[in-house]
Symmetry: C2
Subunit: 302 residues, 2 copies
C-alpha cells in the first residue's frame, strides 16, 4: 500500500490556498518527499501528515519554489527531536546549496546524507523505495523521478524443495534475506517465483515535454506532471520559460499510457485550472487537475 499526497499545486510562488508543488509518498512507515518550497512544512501538516517519518527528500532542481522551505523543515524535524539521519537526492551541487541554506539552520540533531545525481538516469534503492531519477529539460539541470515499490515473486514450495532449501530458512528467504545454513548459502530466488508487477508513480515538474519523460513514465499507476499554463495562447511562454502547457502534458500521458495523470505546478496567473481541462481529456481522458492535499492509495494487483 503506497500513499501519495500532492502537497501543493503552485509554481513560482506560494499563494493563499495554493501551496507550492511537492509530493509525499508513504510506504511501510517510511515517507519520501519530493521538493520542499516555502510553506511545504505547513502543507504537510494541513494534510494531516508529519515530518519525521521522512527518510528521503528528492529535489527536482534548486529554484527557490522547490527548495526554499528546506531550512524550516529541517528545524521542525530537529525540534521534534529527530535523531535519525535523512538522505537527500538531487542534481549536482546539492550539498553546496543545502550548506548555503543552512546558514540559518546550522545546528541539527541528525545527520544529512547526500546523493548527487550525475547521469541521465540513475536508480537508487532506499527506505523500501526504488527511485529512478531522469534528467529533463529546464533552464537549469532538473530531474524527474519515478517512485517505485518493487514486488518480489510469490513463494513457491516446489521450487524451494527442488533447490533443497531447508524449511527453517523459508521464512527469511521469503522476506528477501540471504541465509547461510550448515555452510550452504541460500538466496531468495531459490524459493521465489518471477518478480511481480509493483507500483510506480512518476513525478515531473519544470521541464519541456521531452521524450525521456514518456519513456520513464511508461505504464505508471500515477503520473504527476507539471502544467504551468492552461491557456492555449501560452505555448510560446511555455517554450520560453521551459515549462509545459496542459496539452503537452496530456500528450506525454497518452504516449506513456499511464493509468492516471494529475496536473500541477500551475502558474500564479492560472486561477482555475479546471477551466482548461477539456483540451487535456480530449487527448488523455484519465487526467484531473491536481488539488492541494489530493491523496491516493495505490495497491498491488491481485
Amino acid at each position: 500500500m503506497l500513499d501519495i499526497s500532492l502537497l501543493g499545486t503552485g509554481g513560482m510562488m506560494p499563494l493563499p490556498k495554493r501551496w507550492l508543488t511537492a509530493m509525499m509518498a508513504r510506504y511501510n512507515g517510511k515517507s519520501l518527499l519530493i521538493d520542499c518550497g516555502e510553506g511545504t512544512q505547513l502543507a504537510i501538516k494541513e494534510c494531516g501528515l508529519s515530518v519525521n517519518p521522512i527518510e528521503v527528500i528528492c529535489f527536482t532542481h534548486y529554484h527557490a519554489d522547490h527548495i526554499s522551505g528546506l531550512p524550516g523543515l529541517l528545524l521542525s524535524m530537529g525540534n521534534a527531536d529527530r535523531t535519525e539521519p535523512i538522505t537527500m537526492i538531487g542534481p549536482e551541487g546539492l550539498e553546496k546549496v543545502v550548506r548555503s541554506l543552512r546558514v540559518i539552520a546550522p545546528e541539527l540533531p541528525f545527520e544529512i546524507k547526500f546523493i548527487e545525481l550525475k547521469e541521465k538516469t540513475e536508480t537508487i534503492h532506499i527506505a523500501g523505495y526504488a527511485i529512478d531519477a531522469f534528467k529533463v529539460s529546464h533552464k537549469v539541470t532538473c530531474y524527474g523521478y519515478n517512485v517505485r515499490i518493487e514486488r518480489q515473486g510469490k513463494f513457491e514450495t516446489e521450487k524451494a524443495n527442488a533447490n533443497n532449501v531447508p524449511m527453517k530458512c523459508w521464512n527469511r528467504l521469503q522476506k528477501g534475506e540471504t541465509v547461510i545454513e550448515d555452510g550452504i548459502t541460500y538466496t531468495p530466488d531459490m524459493v521465489l517465483g518471477e518478480t511481480r508487477k509493483g507500483l510506480k508513480v512518476t513525478y515531473c515538474t519544470d521541464t519541456r515535454p521531452v521524450d525521456i519523460i514518456a519513456e520513464m513514465a511508461k505504464d505508471a499507476d500515477l503520473f504527476i506532471c507539471e502544467g504551468m499554463y492552461g491557456e492555449p495562447d501560452k505555448q510560446a511562454k511555455a517554450r520560453e520559460y521551459k515549462h509545459m502547457t496542459f496539452e503537452e502534458a496530456a500528450n506525454l500521458a497518452k504516449k506513456a499510457e499511464v493509468k492516471e495523470m494529475w496536473l500541477t505546478h500551475f502558474s500564479p496567473s492560472l486561477v482555475r485550472p479546471s477551466d482548461y481541462m477539456k483540451q487535456v481529456t480530449d487527448i488523455f481522458p484519465s487526467a484531473v487537475p491536481g488539488k492541494d492535499g489530493k491523496t491516493i492509495t495505490l495497491n498491488f494487483e491481485d
Copy 2:
C-alpha cells in the same frame, strides 16, 4: 497616518493559521517590514498588502523563523518587476547571511543595500521613517526596533519674518528642505516652531526582558512585544531559551508607560494565548494578545 500590521504571531515555526511573527509599517506610500519568516509573503497577501512598496526590511536576528522567507519574498518582488533598490538593516553578518540564502535567488532585477548594526543603539533615517535599533539579549545578537515618524514644528510666520526669510522660500522650508536664495542659505528651523510629538512603535522579539527595552519603548504609541510563554510554569524555560513570559512583557510595558501592548511570537505549544491574559492585564491593562493580520492606524495628536 502610520499603519501597523502584525503579519503573524508565531515563534519557532509557522503553524496552520499562525504565521511567523513579522510586522509591516506603512507611511506615505512607503512600507517597512520587520522580519520575514517562512510564509511572510503569504501573510502580507492575506493582509491585503503588497510587497513592492517595501523599501526597508529590518531583521531582529538570523534565526530561521525570522528570515527564512526572504528568498521567496525577493523573488516575488522581482516577479512583480521591481527595479527600485531595497535597504536591509540587521545585526552584523547581514550581507553574508543574505548572500548565502540567495543561492536559490541569485538573479534579481533590483539592488539590495545593507546597513549592518554594530552599536548598542543606532538611529537610521530612511524612507520617511526614523528607526532606532537597540541590542537586546537573546542566544545570538538580536535587535529590537523603534519605528518612528518624526513630526516637525508648526510653520510660524512671525519667526519666518523675524529671520528675514523671503516668502517664496517658505513652502520648501516648511517641507524640510534647505533653500539657497540670492546667496543666502535658509534652513527649516528658521520658519518652524518646536518639534512636535511624532509617532512611535516599538517592536521587540526574541529576548529576555532587559532594561534597554523599557528605555527605548518609553511612551510608545504601540509596543509589540514577544510573549513566548503564557503559562506561569514556563519561567525557567523562558530564561533557558532567552525568551519572555507574558508577565515579563507586561512589566516592561508598565515600566515603559506605553499606550498599548500587543503580545506576539507565541510558542507552538501555546494554543490559546488569550487564556493567559489576566496576569498580563493585572500588571498592564492596555495589553492584548496579537492576532495574525491585526492592524492599527496611528495618527498625530491634535
